[in-house]
Symmetry: D2
Subunit: 254 residues, 4 copies
């Protein structure tokens, strides 16, 4: 058995077909390019891709069973993701599967369901400079970066970002146009580790940038399952199996 972290990169793969400039930046589809970035450390990762247009969006039970960490990029078609598949992914996150949500994935069904909030923000598409600051240089996701790194052209996302308080805020972005944003945040839902990473608008070659690739690989390592895949349920504990001896009394509806 391999010790590699098994990553599935899910891409919506819509804009790549409908917008020439996206296809020019990511000719093999964003999912494929992100996969290639992870595979720059082939000894660490085993990477598959999945897209919206595949049966079950490429996220069959079998594929997810072999996924340690799921990456999620979507933008134009959040509503086309079937609720059943979202529920399937969510249950696996609870069981420990890591989830890395990228950029416009902040409005994806899976992210909003795990957060329980609106996950809204402000935005501007002006290709302005983004400077991503490291809030904790010792954090696993921040390894190999300096104090900050810059992305020459990006879409702006600004506060307020309607999320529950993150477990940790790893990155905060400074934008040329004057805004700020919590660009790298972690949470845990069940036993799944979740990382939201802001950069990655489809018309800019953000995921091909060295520092961004470093973050993606760091995040994939950080989000891998720990412990064991506990499947929650609502088991009844019969009276005779109570740790202390008791006798049933009172009413019952069951």
């Amino acid at each position: 058995m391999s010790d590699k972290i098994r990553v599935t990169v899910w891409g919506e793969n819509v804009h790549e077909k409908t917008h020439a400039e996206v296809a020019q930046v990511y000719p093999r589809g964003m999912h494929q390019h992100i996969a290639e970035v992870l595979l720059q450390e082939p000894e660490k990762f085993e990477v598959h891709t999945a897209t919206l247009d595949q049966p079950e969006h490429g996220l069959t039970p079998d594929i997810l069973a072999r996924t340690d960490v799921l990456f999620w990029w979507g933008h134009a078609a959040h509503d086309q993701v079937a609720d059943e598949i979202v529920a399937r992914v969510q249950a696996l996150v609870w069981q420990g599967m890591g989830l890395v949500v990228l950029h416009s994935g902040h409005l994806s069904k899976i992210f909003r369901r795990l957060m329980g909030t609106a996950c809204t923000l402000t935005w501007r598409e002006a290709g302005e400079k983004e400077r991503v600051w490291v809030c904790n240089p010792g954090h696993p996701i921040a390894q190999g970066l300096g104090r900050y790194f810059e992305i020459p052209s990006e879409e702006m996302y600004g506060e307020p970002f309607a999320i529950p308080a993150p477990d940790e805020n790893v990155f905060i972005s400074w934008f040329e146009g004057g805004e700020v944003f919590r660009s790298g945040c972690t949470w845990k839902r069940g036993n799944g580790k979740i990382f939201y990473f802001r950069p990655g608008h489809e018309v800019y070659p953000t995921y091909l940038q060295k520092e961004v690739g470093q973050v993606l690989r760091n995040a994939a390592s950080w989000a891998r399952p720990e412990g064991s895949r506990w499947v929650d349920g609502c088991p009844n504990i019969p009276v005779e199996q109570a740790p202390e001896k008791i006798v049933s009394k009172g009413g019952s509806v069951h």
Copy 2:
């Protein structure tokens, strides 16, 4: 204008009609009895009730607009609550409406959507003794109680309770049969304060007990909205409205 906290108590009101022993304990319906418990401090609260069988489950936009804190008790019919109403309640919680989720409401759609987790637990219906411990005697929800209080007969809920780490754990229960449970937990989603309170199985007169009533009234006061009702959205900030002067560059999909 009144300074009273406007509470709406939502009750599923199913078991009261189908189980004689529930009707015997709560002849006017659980929602009505809970409302009466809150109204033991009439100077503090203005209380309405709503039930599943009413149009829009009694949770019309108009009624919710006049609700500071919503209490939620459900058990047998979680699935019959319309998704549209759940989304409506959730959006209002984000805007600051308080939510007090009672007992079997742990599996309600609204609680699970706000938590983002399975909210499962273990359980036993044996009418055993429950001792509810106060983890923080200074907390607003714990005022007027001693170090603990006992409920003579209750359904047991046991760990693991599949919730995100609470902001605060106000109560933990000890059960006669040997289990423990995080019985009083707080979270914030958006600007809404959420309190989950475990006790309240429908066949026992739990909500009529003095200490439990105290907790319900404390919780209603604690969960009232603070600040203002911010409605989140995803506003575009045009280039000309950027705080710093910038010029648009690069590609665009919008």
Copy 3:
């Protein structure tokens, strides 16, 4: 009895005497000017001041007993604050006294002891522009502000800010020189609500700015004690007072 929130503003009051330009901006001492800003809502607040050079730094048990919320500004003389006074303040925070730590107070003994971390950051004194963004427009501390406000000249504080993850991040600052900072953060320690607010370098008239005053008053209201002043201790519960009847067995060192 008054319903006003009783605030004590503690000021180090050192730079005001040693640096002419500080004395020029804050001729009555920073503590006094901050007090005056709070008293712009005299119906809400009753305000006293205390300084390092007073007996017990002006923080006698009697004065603290009449303090709902303590404001803390210090910079040059953190080490001159007696450990005994710090312990006294800390114990009162645990009992519910609010604490608002301002600017260079990030390195004060009281803040570092409550946080448990180094509370370090990066800094630059260049009088650059600071834009303070609201991360949650519905939060009580953000009321009466727009989406952001600007301070024309401030000292820069930059990430990494070595704090435990805040309960809530109310403000994030954008600096002209390119940095970002978590400028408004909340925590709870015991029952005391703590707010750290970044702006307020002594050579600029920051606390005299309208929006900053609004934040100070909002923070004073938000941080007031809730619940009751529980004094923690380590009480022994004798065997005969155990809630369940038990018989002592096994060894003992007590």
Copy 4:
């Protein structure tokens, strides 16, 4: 270089010399027995011990530099631990060293300084039964245990436990005498992972029990450093090193 986790077990080693019954249970000193329990997985851990009576309490800079995870058991002599050593340990926790605080260590200087709270609780020494419940069966620290495990005789610790809200509550204890307690809690301070584990009163052979040993080894693995050892400081960023070109303006005290 070894990949083993380097653990230092710190024991106060006072009761072992002054109380015959403690010496009988732990003839080689508690620290030594805890070390032996960890070494039941010799391929995973490299273990040293340190005690109060050694120079610098056995916690020299050199020894700590070779420590990935520090275990801490103290009870009778918390005040005899030098402040300088406490500060040294605390700084290393911030840099990523793991810390496992055992039982009466809840009142140790190091734990209280990292928490920022009183860390008090209620207690009873009656040798009663403790049942330790797993709140999250998938958590790394809970691996290899069942739904719960029992310790035949233990000191009781009861709520309220005056701690900041834990990042995760892994265990909650049920006591024969009727109390409950958050027995296994995690926090992060700086980059150091901290685990508090309740059981381990010195007159009972708790650390020799199989399940308890499993928890200790799990905790040692969980608490190992991740990322890198970032040493925080307060660096000045000169104007000419600002990421954006700015010109200094306004006053200065530096």
